[in-house]
């Protein structure tokens, strides 16, 4: 039986298949878009692309709901203020671009380039970044760094000298024992990882899940351990305590490849399983059993770093603890353990001249990432600098600020109202576009070229192409063209080629391919790389010591703990519950909130608040009823949320999926559906090592309708 033969089948049906890559989440799987009568009729997984392997998650299929969303931004919009009222009017591209360029130019002349910041999310940002660099602006912020992947990246970097990677460098299919802390694969539909976990289960992979909630992944686990939220580091220290005190760790590997073992032991020897049991609510015997099983499956065992990793102010140290737990069993570059996938070797495009930047990295945090030209400042710093009136203008690409920025909706809105100028580039009228002075409608990822994607390391390194499947709809334009128009207006020369096709073709010709060739399958794949160390191979690490840093001298020198310490996080006040958050497999927050195709299933339509039955009884809540939530600062959810009474959650926590409760009426489908998680964030805990923002110290109680 054949599968994934997208082209063979399509030709019989008068269909055309175009290969590209998805934009519904950061994973960026390969897609095959099927076109019939000039319209995309379905999207399937690309059989050529290593990350999709012919398969696709619901969101990928749901691209048709995005391109054909009737609420899409159709024309450039300019805000007009008349008689105390402000409203948008349609504008031509030339007028909108001229207005944008003039305003940005004046702000730069008056306040300097540091008064302008670009916030971005999504793969089309690259052309705007190049344009802004040539303009002299170098404040680029990627909100996902703040609350999602920053700690994971930097925590790994500080320990191993390389980031955790996307897909994470864990040899899942060959692993025999994987430990997860609150990472819920299956609800997080990271296609490749889900495929590997499934294959792992078929081959006998044992899964251990520490999570306050019985997630879908917990449903696959040999053991679900409902840990008290905020106590992961205590648990991990106790696991280390058992590994070391019972002599279960890989002594040879640790002696040869790590530094700081004595300091680590000094720290963890006090965290006995009995002590950790009191902190974490997990019995000491269970802790011992997990530690022993973990060691017995070594080196084909690992602790997974997870994805959204900033929960409290100690996110980076929490990731370091995970990295150290892996190091102790010597699973580095071993089948079923930690691997370091390689990226495709695509030469960088020729650098074009740009004015001298005052700073290359603007973040004040000592361990903020220093190697990403698109991420030079934390997004919460942009918000703070805006409130302090240092930053006067934002250029926002694909970031729905009120529902994304981790200092919560209220602070984000205050910041936007202080700005002199806000430009939003988006495909849909999101909340952020409602605060903008200029709205530039980009066409969707299915209607444009973007830069080549060589950013994903995997078993077979690859570079992949985003290409238009159909022509841009309405008066929308690709980001590359909008950036080119702005560059021209700002008289910035020599940044872009004559056309995006010429640019892509030149890049591909450098590696002996061409745009024409890559357009056929959307991807160039190289041979599998060597993942495992050879017997006797000497390992080197790009850390200051050249070894895996169990204790980090650089953290110590900067005034932080060299070895991660457990710090108690506040408990919810009486009658309040910690808000835990996650996602649904068919949705990616703002990107899919208004997608009618994906929202058709009843399970997708709204978020629920998960409440333990004992707590529901205490508050006389019944399953299916609609209530409001009130947080510790008195903020009440704008829209009601449905109660889900379930055994699947601890009594001290509630759970809701992020990305619902949209309050912008122009999102005609998403408006009023469910409650907004971001609205209920009033407290942010900043990780002072890398500048990430945690928000799990927010608590809610229930308010019944009057």
């Amino acid at each position: 039986m054949l599968s994934g033969t997208n082209n063979a089948f399509a030709e019989d049906n008068g269909e055309k298949v175009v290969y590209s890559f998805c934009e519904h989440c950061f994973w960026r799987c390969g897609i095959a878009a099927h076109v019939r009568n000039g319209k995309i009729c379905k999207i399937t997984g690309s059989e050529h692309h290593p990350l999709s392997n012919g398969k696709l998650c619901p969101r990928g299929t749901g691209g048709i709901g995005q391109i054909y969303d009737p609420d899409r931004l159709a024309h450039p919009l300019i805000r007009e203020r008349k008689g105390g009222q402000s409203s948008f009017r349609k504008a031509s591209w030339d007028e909108a671009i001229t207005h944008t360029a003039e305003k940005l130019y004046r702000i730069k002349e008056k306040h300097g380039p540091e008064a302008i910041a670009m916030l971005h999310h999504g793969y089309g940002y690259t052309f705007f970044k190049e344009m802004f660099k040539a303009f002299g602006v170098n404040k680029f912020a990627k909100p996902s760094y703040d609350f999602c992947c920053g700690p994971r990246r930097q925590g790994y970097e500080m320990t191993y000298g390389h980031p955790a990677g996307t897909p994470e460098g864990i040899d899942i299919i060959n692993s025999k024992y994987l430990v997860f802390f609150g990472t819920h694969y299956g609800e997080n539909m990271h296609n490749t990882a889900v495929q590997e976990i499934s294959e792992g289960i078929r081959r006998g992979l044992k899964i251990i899940v520490f999570d306050p909630r019985f997630s879908t992944l917990a449903g696959k686990a040999e053991k679900w351990l409902p840990i008290k939220p905020g106590t992961d580091i205590a648990m991990m220290q106790a696991l280390m305590n058992v590994l070391i005190s019972e002599d279960l760790y890989d002594k040879e590997f640790v002696a040869e490849n790590t530094v700081g073992f004595d300091e680590l032991w000094n720290e963890v020897q006090q965290m006995t399983p009995e002590k950790a049991a009191n902190i974490t609510d997990i019995p000491a015997d269970e802790i011992r059993e997990v530690a022993r099983s973990y060691a017995s499956h070594a080196p084909a065992a690992a602790v997974h770093p997870g994805r959204r990793t900033q929960w409290y102010a100690d996110g980076t140290q929490r990731i370091r603890t995970i990295a150290i737990l892996n190091a102790l069993i010597g699973n580095y570059k071993m089948p079923g353990g930690i691997v370091n996938y390689e990226k495709f070797k695509l030469p960088k495009p020729d650098a074009h001249p740009h004015p001298h930047f005052e700073k290359e990295v603007w973040s004040k945090y000592p361990f903020f990432v220093k190697t990403q030209s698109a991420n030079t400042i934390a997004s919460h710093e942009v918000v703070q600098q805006t409130l302090e009136e240092e930053i006067k203008a934002w250029f926002v690409y694909g970031v729905n600020v009120p529902e994304t920025i981790t200092l919560g909706r209220k602070t984000a809105v205050e910041a936007m109202q202080k700005l002199d100028f806000l430009v939003a580039v988006d495909t849909l009228p999101m909340e952020v576009t409602g605060y903008a002075d200029i709205v530039l409608p980009e066409c969707t990822y299915l209607e444009r070229y973007d830069d080549l994607d060589d950013g994903r390391p995997y078993r077979t390194p690859f570079v992949t192409l985003r290409q238009p499947v159909v022509e841009p709809m309405f008066d929308s334009k690709p980001g590359n063209e909008i950036a080119r128009m702005m560059a021209k207006k700002l008289e910035l020369h020599g940044i872009f080629e004559d056309s995006v096709e010429t640019y892509l073709d030149k890049r591909l010709k450098k590696i002996g391919s061409s745009l024409e060739e890559v357009k056929k399958t959307g991807v160039l794949v190289s041979k599998p790389t060597d993942l495992y160390r050879k017997p006797g191979e000497k390992l080197t690490f790009k850390t200051p010591s050249g070894k895996i840093e169990l204790a980090s001298a650089q953290l110590k020198a900067a005034g932080f703990d060299a070895v991660p310490k457990y710090i108690k996080h506040p408990d919810p006040p009486d009658g309040y519950y910690r808000i835990l958050t996650g996602r649904k497999p068919m949705l990616t927050f703002g990107r899919t909130a208004n997608n009618r195709f994906l929202n058709e299933l009843p399970t997708a339509r709204e978020n629920e608040i998960w409440v333990n039955p004992r707590i529901a009884q205490k508050h006389t809540l019944s399953h299916g009823e609609y209530i409001h939530l009130k947080n510790q600062a008195g903020i009440v959810s704008e829209f009601p949320i449905k109660v889900k009474v379930t055994e699947r959650i601890r009594e001290d926590s509630v759970y809701m999926v992020h990305g619902y409760g949209h309050y912008y009426k122009k999102l005609k489908w998403a408006y009023t559906k469910g409650a907004s998680h971001n609205q209920l964030i009033s407290k942010a805990d900043i990780d002072k090592t890398i500048g990430a923002v945690g928000f799990q110290n927010n608590f809610v109680t229930f308010i019944k309708e009057a």
Partner: protein, 188 residues
């Protein structure tokens, strides 16, 4: 391999995560009208905190060998196809709903255009030697199309040594969908 096909499915609930990719893939493959679906996902949790268990399943028409929908269809619209699937000839269907009442699996709906509709096991794809849309998209490979007449079939071998069940066996419908229980240990 036998010339005559006898199609069905082996559904591995150990790996299913209830993501619903199958539902969306089916909807776009088969132009299923808004508000309806031919397949759906069940997430079943049992027990009390903290002793819980879960099974995720993607469900659809069971393509029964003794199908009540075929038996009770007054016009012959519902019929057995020679490849072992149950199909509907929509031009013979009067939309009387006898089949909806007869189906123990609640697998059918009335299409807004007036005929009964359900999973066809993507017959148009089977005829071309392709997998069903749901199986081809499934990220976990929980969904496996099988030909029960093919003794070499890999998916059939998958069931060996595992706890496998069929739904509502007591209804006597002899369904063609087999379920590998989530109770099986990893690597069973």
């Amino acid at each position: 391999m036998a010339d005559k096909k006898n199609y069905g499915m082996v559904i591995d609930t150990r790996v299913c995560v209830a993501c619903s990719a199958c539902v969306y893939a089916c909807k776009s493959e088969n132009s299923v009208p808004e508000g309806y679906c031919r397949d759906w996902v069940v997430q079943e949790t049992n027990g009390t905190f903290p002793k819980l268990s879960m099974e995720n399943r993607s469900e659809r028409c069971q393509h029964c060998a003794k199908a009540p929908c075929v038996i009770y269809c007054p016009t012959g619209a519902s019929h057995y196809s020679e490849d072992g699937t149950v199909q509907i000839n929509r031009y013979r269907c009067t939309g009387c709903k006898a089949c909806l009442a007869a189906c123990p699996y609640d697998a059918r709906y009335v299409h807004p255009k007036g005929f009964a509709d359900k999973c066809s096991l993507c017959k148009h794809r089977l005829d071309k030697g392709l997998e069903t849309a749901c199986a081809s998209v499934c990220p976990t490979t929980s969904l496996n199309l099988v030909d029960f007449n093919d003794p070499e079939e890999k998916a059939l071998k998958m069931m060996n040594g595992k706890e496998v069940y069929r739904q509502k066996k007591h209804a006597g419908t002899n369904p063609s969908l087999y379920w590998i229980s989530a109770r099986n240990k990893p690597g069973a």
